[in-house]
Symmetry: C2
Subunit: 467 residues, 2 copies
């Protein structure tokens, strides 16, 4: 070939980007919201669509895998090199709930390109980042002249990530033989910024629960009964208020058991990143920093466990007033976990703490969703070095290392498959994951394609390097 | 006449009860919910209906009075005795919000009689209790052979009581000349129980507000940002948790300023009432007593100021989970006030307290509805004695004295008209004011008619008695 591989990759991407974006838009139009039961048919439609598209791309196997919940998609494209390493790409095809009235400028499931950004629910989390691998592998073949990938390529794209992946562990265990891999590439995270490409080395875990509080058997008149019986909305509020101490630490006894504390070296690496607190606050659309005393913002979001209220409700929320003591109230809590924390232990701790807090006369129940474990990959792992090199080539820039505050079922893959987990994500903090007007930067999306195009060759060449 | 007056009254009521109940049901079918703007036409329809019905009853004046909000109804039936006292009956024709899905067994605006109880929103609060006066005055005339009532009878039935009577004070001030009265009869309270007829001597006041808290400019991802920025739902919860101290006292500085404390004699009278805490708890549909330390339940609900959360909301409240930091949260609070407390002072105190509590990075605003003052009438007032005698005749039982924990604009009438306020109510605690399945006991409703039938003659005979 007369082209350098990089040029060939870029040319191929340029030639196919329009069709690639059309296909992605078609997928984004499917409102595959896994948390809302009425969208179950859409989640299935999304899986079917993806399996068909992967087959069209060239994967020799493309199957919809059933779970007790929403279906996943599995695909394989074996390498002609029998000694090639096996790589499993992980992502998800389900999305967060979204409704125009939540503050979207356009319909969340009607993709729109504005100013080089593709806006739609799932654009960044996670359909866009799953989909760049389809063009990536074809660019890899076109640029290298290969007829099969340099690695045995597998894809597992689940359908319940935004619901806490309740059946993912079981799915992976069931299909562990077919999923076996030398490395797992998770494409469901982000990077530092448009200008600073980074590779993420770990994710926080997640435990979620809803605490329901039951007071009077029905709403009662606050004039007749107020001040003399317990109010479940007050109980809900007091629970939430008791969740943190005045130092911003989570006040659930036992919550910090086993937490792997940051080393001085890690704190230094974090501190060296070009972090602009004011810029970060703007991205967070927030108006002050706040959190656990004694830690920086990056430490708080990447390496410290946290507790947040995701929702609270009880009593009358309509216009005007209604002088009642509500019958019920609820809070939805989520806990981000770091290496060393065990979700089962957290659940026990939260149950004991809540039982201790709720006053007499208020009945409570706690429903935990399935949890996600935290995970972390060593910086000197050869596959991680391959990923950093490929990304550096795509971005023509050195790559730094970060962590991810969010959570994914990566730890299950690491645990069941015994493979290291690497994170290849091109999303940036302003992409608005889980928020209105979610978007992906088209330039970065195509850098993702490019990184994917370089990665398989680099991995095949270096995966046996000794750290 | 050969009949005793009591017999004549009872016979008249018996003969007219069916038509009376049909008319009341017709009125209850009008969903006159003043707190919900889309029901404004229904509130007006309710006023028109009542004015027409009062004219049909025999009132020589029956007018719909406009306010800046919902209309009130005013009616007059002068006495032929020029020296007769003037009595103003107060009630309201608007009702609390109600929807079948809140837990009603039947449609809230489709009245149903079951087991001697009339179920409908407004059956007890307050349409039933306003309406018994229409049959009461006709029974009074029929039994005494009079062609006009023994008192100059006036009615003022407002349309915004369930919205905090925002324009009532202005209405009363505007029409003070026409409303002038020697005594005010408020028919918007209850009595002790079916077996223990009581006269209420005072009501608590009410101040209400909604506190809105604004955090991030939109919902943001709790994985990416959680633990590092303030969460408005947490701020809302901490506000509510800070509302009471560990003794159950309201912790807003200045809240108790000016509170008229209970005397030992008042505490004795309360303690003498046949109060069954377990029975009261069942009526309250509640599962424990709870409140300000050092006070009994009756003291807490009748004579102590309180703070309650009527509603709290923020973030994701749908099925499943959504890992966000919500952009906004809100709490609806109401404060019951007792004699000596000033709503304006309470508003200032709550604003200062909230400003002190809300953390940096959370913006807040507080919207107060219009307040209702507390009021109290001396036990030895001759009009109060007339009322107790009339009720005693209707119930064939001695009458005891209570207070009312709820609130009404009675204090405005007392203040503007300079007239003592008496409370004639036949509702019982199980009637479910502001709750699903609100009802009125038909037997008691007719005792209300009967009390009204006796009251005008007794008042005319005794209103000049010196206490
Ligand atoms: Zn995701
Ligand atoms: Zn009322």
């Amino acid at each position: 070939m007369s082209q350098t591989p990089d040029k060939a990759v870029r040319t191929y991407i340029e030639q196919h980007r329009a069709a690639f974006l059309d296909d992605l838009a078609e997928w984004l139009r499917i409102p595959s919201v896994s948390a809302q039961p009425d969208h179950a048919p859409d989640v299935r439609r999304s899986a079917d669509w993806l399996a068909a598209k992967l087959q069209e791309t060239g994967f020799s196997v493309a199957e919809v895998w059933e779970t007790a919940g929403a279906p996943a998609v599995y695909a394989e494209w074996p390498s002609d090199d029998p000694g090639a390493p096996t790589v499993l790409v992980y992502g998800h095809h389900d999305v967060q709930p979204a409704a125009r009235e939540d503050g979207w400028d356009t319909e969340p499931f009607e993709p729109v390109v504005r100013d080089g950004r593709l806006h739609a629910r799932g654009a960044a989390d996670d359909k866009g980042q799953v989909f760049f691998h389809t063009l990536g592998v074809r660019a890899h073949l076109a640029a290298t002249g290969r007829t099969s990938p340099a690695v045995h390529l597998k894809l597992l794209i689940e359908g319940e990530e935004e619901s806490g992946s309740p059946h993912f562990r079981q799915l992976v265990e069931e299909h562990a033989d077919r999923l076996a891999a030398d490395a797992v590439i998770v494409s469901d995270t982000g990077m530092w910024s448009e200008d600073t490409p980074t590779v993420c080395t770990g994710m926080r875990g997640l435990a979620e629960c809803e605490i329901r509080l039951y007071g009077p058997d029905q709403d009662i008149h606050s004039g007749s009964f107020g001040g003399a019986v317990p109010n479940p909305a007050t109980a809900a509020a007091r629970l939430v208020a008791a969740l943190h101490d005045e130092q911003g630490r989570v006040a659930v006894p036992g919550f910090y058991d086993g937490v792997v504390e940051l080393t001085d070296r890690e704190r230094e690496l974090f501190a060296e990143l070009p972090f602009d607190e004011q810029q970060w606050l703007r991205t967070a659309r927030s108006h002050a920093l706040h959190g656990e005393a004694g830690y920086t913002t990056l430490e708080r979001i990447w390496a410290r466990p946290t507790a947040e209220v995701n929702g609270i409700g009880g009593g009358y929320q309509g216009p005007g007033s209604k002088t009642i003591i509500p019958s019920t109230a609820m809070v939805k809590l989520s806990f981000r976990l770091v290496a060393g924390q065990d979700p089962d232990h957290i659940e026990k701790a939260v149950r004991a703490w809540a039982a201790d807090q709720v006053p007499a006369g208020i009945r409570h129940e706690i429903v935990f969703g399935s949890a996600t474990r935290p995970c972390l990959t060593p910086l000197d792992h050869p596959a991680l070095q391959s990923l950093a090199r490929s990304m550096s080539r795509a971005f023509a820039s050195p790559v730094r290392f970060t962590r991810e505050g969010g959570s994914g079922p990566a730890a299950d893959l690491q645990e069941v498959l015994g493979a290291p987990v690497l994170f290849l994500g091109i999303s940036v903090p302003s992409d608005g994951w889980h928020a209105p007007n979610e978007k992906v930067e088209l330039d970065l999306l195509l850098k993702g394609v490019e990184t994917s195009a370089y990665l398989w060759g680099d991995l095949a060449a270096h995966w046996r390097d000794v750290p």
